[in-house]
Amino acid sequence: MPPDDVRALFDDATRRHLLGELAPGVAIRAAPADEHEAHEDRLWATATDRRPPDSSRLFGDGDRARVRAIDGLRGAGLEHRLLFCAGDDVVGTFRGAQGERGTYVMWNTVVRRDLQRRGLYRAFLPRLIAAVREVGFREIHSRHHADNNAVLVPKLRAGFVITGFEVSPRDGILVDLRVFLHDGLGKLFAHLIDGSHAAELRAAGVALP
């Protein structure tokens, strides 16, 4: 499929699954990067008391320019930048993007503190999964503070599984979550945990030990 067709498919799935009403009084709209970033920064300031340190302060101008140039070699990937709006107020943001090897990465979701725990994230999650699945990604990946139960619980309920732990300079101890959008990959993951699905996987042609 040519890149333009993939982008069209992505945009269409975004429109159908992600834009419009999310919950009574809250609607989702797409935003350009600058607008999204301004709202995200503003919301971070009130959404949590535990912002990660600004690691960009570690880098000199030369270092930043060099990494920007290296990253810039690859074209822009598929990306969602969404705003959660209550009337004219932006009360939340979401950013997710194409990752490596057929993966979609949920980078972050920020919801204004007074609207947290009202089911917005729980309502958003299945819509995002539907949009990403329809485009053809094989898995969705996200990383969270290991003690962020407010996000871990709804994600695990939505079918994400814990696939790793990581120490990140910026964020500390993280848990990696994934939802496999391809049945075979999900079965193979489960097989590695407890040996299940062996017969189905062999029947599908996977040479297991």
């Binding site: 993939v6 570690l58 290296i70 690859r74 732990f165 120490v167 391809h182």
Partner: protein, 210 residues
Amino acid sequence: MNAADDVRARFDDATRRHLTGPLVPGVDLRLATADEHQAHQDALWASSSEQPPPDLQPLFSDGDRAAFAAFAAVRGPALSHRVLLCAGDEVVGSYHGVQEDHGRYYMVNTVVRRDVQGRGLYRAFLPRVVAAVREAGFREIYSRHRADNNAVLVPKLKAGFHIAAFEVTPRWGLLVHLRLYLHDGLGRLFHHRVDGSHAAELRAAGLSLP
């Protein structure tokens, strides 16, 4: 020359200087095209002591494969190294590494023929990759290994890589992530996350730590 050309030129130059020519007596490094590299890598897997992972292709339909290829095409090619380790006319090893986002470089795999393993090829090769990647301007190198692959984990840890993550993947099972930070500040922040060290230096550099 624009910024992209500059980056490519710097990468190619560092590759030529560090990843071609003699590696150890009797073994040279040379660059290969993707097809040539893949053919040698497949052949080497069959003779290396490492257990090749299961082939997942039977799980995917033609549609799945087409979608996967389409995603890669959206972004275009990344900077990559495809290097062969040659003893005379014979290819005895292969290496593949590739650019990822945020200034990160991923050592995808290194395969060495069984009969030349344990002779220090990997130990000699590793600092050359690190030098090439550092000089190209990346901030971090990472790799993923079977959790029981001490033959690779030990030389990498000796070369300054750190264990940064554990992961369970459908294809490979339990993996350890190793990382080498090529930027001092990031390395210090990583250590700070592990045991609280370097706090004063990091604060002095402008980081607001708790």
